[in-house]
Symmetry: C2
Subunit: 414 residues, 2 copies
């Protein structure tokens, strides 16, 4: 277990701060102007990486500027050695040994910043890698006998989602309308989704391209970092549409990500092994090292005007497949992978009540609504509800925090 | 039925020419240099639209150059009125009334050009809109009783594909390796696909963005044009992976498109109605006008070193859903659609033997291999096979051709 690195920014040294010197996550911000700037979260501040580059104080590349586009994609293309050397330079610049005066013009209070998408998402893929989640959902959709699909223990199954619908935390989410059909109805109708739900996931960001099959170890090296990810899901639309081609419009309304990319480097001390395999994996999916992360996760729900109730507490180590295994599988048919591809882990559910990553599971298909601190109950999300994800890895006297991933549900349009 | 417009380029006036003045499809080419240029096919030539713009002879926008990127995306963003006025200007420039001398420096022989992707694909979606295809495949995968999924007659079902795997005609296709499992096998293994197949489709290109639900009429207006599309499919990988989340690596090796975008304007005289509805559609999917096109399609297969056998003859009017209906459905949940989105129609199969758009159907799951002119037979594709799609709409003494969509199968890697 590694120790806190002391920063010249006092707020970064608090043990409950999401953004100590050990973290240094990458985001995009503005302070009201139209320009989108690349920034690094440190304590209660954002360090303006775009202006540091423009002023020649901290450059990632000797030959070109990579912070001018208002996303981190160009930086990611520079590759793993540069990711490491840039992080080293940042660490020196912000350490308690360095002169804090020099950085003053480049530090903005986090509380005054507007945060934007930290990357341009190339393509978005969503997986299904939690054993408990797959078993729970399979039981509800297909019965106990067919709960876990026959392929599930052999490959990290997934489906392609819509990159255009990925939004940053705090973006409101409009309840979708779509085709629904109750079992007793003869034909479908169009309605506002009555079973709108969240899905608690980690998102892995591909930082290096590949063109052809790659091994799990190479896939691990190609992953730049991680975000919290909420794959909003309309369960009633999903139930009617998903056979035989998979989820489509039920998952296309929005997917919310947290604004800070926590790098694989920052999470390095928190690597942990996937659970024991129930059946052996084929060689191309075997992980040579621990490739999951020990990251505590929680979900809070706040009805309009009321305080939040924590619904879920779980951990990313509950996943059966790592992002590296998912990426290796994704590339196995020769599928080219690109910088900026976003891979959702799939909903992360633990084994116990209160550790499931969706309302579908928490309320068991709506049959056992969960209680809120307000005295209300929820089977699925109501208009005005705000859902907040939080996550962090715990070090010695510090944490690697993800910040928040938050969205408020607005009423469906007409 | 409209008549041939006479061009100053004699080869464009032949009745069997794919690219008469009535067509004017958009592509991207080079003549050996590294620069990718936007071009318009006319007879046996390509008109260099990038240099016409640079020289100020034909500009799509008064305020900026849109042909400098080597793709047609920027042009598409200008919108339908500009699409029409640019096409009018091109038509005048290339008509038999105009002076052909002036254009000489801008005309390159088609036979000497290398063709590239005509657009940067934002995202790729594949639908399943042919009644005969869905019934055939459903029968083979799920039996006669469950052939047509319950939702099929109510919505144009589809799934998101991989934009990164879309390639232009003439790009070789490497046979994928992936997880397969025969019914009698206890566990899966990794193998080169033994059931690699083509899928005959039309691809619709979204030329205007939308953000929220749109009607079918608006969706029709947002479609810029069409290409031939081959959604290469590994049937054995597909059978093992596709439940419950849909096709994934079985469709991610490559999708080939023809190099010329045939505009919706060029196809306007060939609009035809969707077939009679077997059950009424919900209002958001009802088409106010004919929105399919009467486009003859054929598939040829040539083993390495041998001449081609035509396997399939069919027509795009066999589709049950139009691209406009698919786009309206795609946007129905609020999914943002972007310039450069590519929508595959789904495999186009007619009712008769020899009119099916895949080997899976032609050979009925491999049980009845088709005969080639060489004396060989094919259940699925062999290494060295070249598959060529062709398509055209037939006017009075002319045709609106799509050119060819071609790919050769290379042996799987190790």
């Amino acid at each position: 277990m590694s120790d806190l690195k002391l920063s010249s920014i006092p707020s970064a040294n608090r043990s409950d701060c999401d953004f100590p010197l050990n973290n240094l996550p990458y985001g995009v911000f503005s302070t009201g102007g139209s320009e989108r700037l690349c920034g690094v979260a440190i304590g209660d501040f954002i360090l303006d990486a775009t202006r540091l580059e423009a002023d020649g104080i901290l450059r990632a590349s000797d030959t070109r500027e990579v912070m001018t586009e208002g996303v981190w994609n160009s930086f990611m293309t520079l590759g793993k050695a540069t990711w490491a050397s840039y992080r080293d330079s940042l660490t020196k610049l912000l350490s308690s040994d360095a002169d804090p005066e020099r950085l003053q013009p480049y530090l903005m209070p986090l509380s005054e910043a507007i945060l934007y998408m930290p990357l341009r998402v190339s393509e978005f893929t969503d997986f299904y890698a939690s054993h408990h989640h797959a078993t729970n959902v399979g039981t509800m959709f297909r019965g106990t006998e067919n709960a876990l699909p026959p392929n599930w223990l052999h490959m990290p199954i997934g489906y392609n989602g819509r990159a255009s619908s990925v939004v940053v935390s705090e973006t409101p989410v409009i309840r979708p309308r779509g085709q629904v059909k109750e079992l007793q109805e003869a034909t479908p109708r169009v309605a506002a989704s009555g079973r709108f739900d969240f899905e608690l996931e980690l998102g892995a960001i591909v930082g290096q391209p590949s063109d052809g099959p790659i091994g799990v170890a190479e896939a691990f090296e190609n992953i730049f970092g991680y975000v919290l990810l909420n794959d909003w899901s309309a369960r009633d639309i999903q139930a009617w549409e998903y056979q035989p081609l998979g989820p489509f419009q039920s998952k296309a309304t929005a997917t919310t990500i947290s604004p800070w990319i926590v790098t694989a480097e920052a999470l390095e001390p928190f690597r942990t092994a996937t659970p024991n395999r129930e059946v052996p994996l084929l060689p191309y999916l075997q992980d040579p090292d621990p490739m999951l992360y020990d990251v505590s996760l929680e979900v809070g729900l706040a009805p309009e005007g009321y305080k939040e109730t924590t619904l879920t507490r779980t951990n990313a180590r509950e996943l059966y497949y790592s992002a590296a295994q998912q990426l290796a599988h994704h590339a196995s048919s020769g599928c080219p992978m690109r910088v900026g591809d976003l891979l959702g882990s799939g909903t992360i559910s633990g084994p116990k009540q209160g550790s499931q990553g969706s309302l579908l599971e928490l309320s068991w298909g709506g049959e056992q609504p969960v209680s809120l601190a307000t005295g209300e109950t929820r089977a699925f999300l109501m208009d005005g509800d705000t859902v907040t994800f939080r996550g962090h890895a715990s070090g010695n006297g510090y944490r690697i925090g993800f910040g928040t991933c938050r969205g408020k549900i607005l009423a469906a349009g007409h």
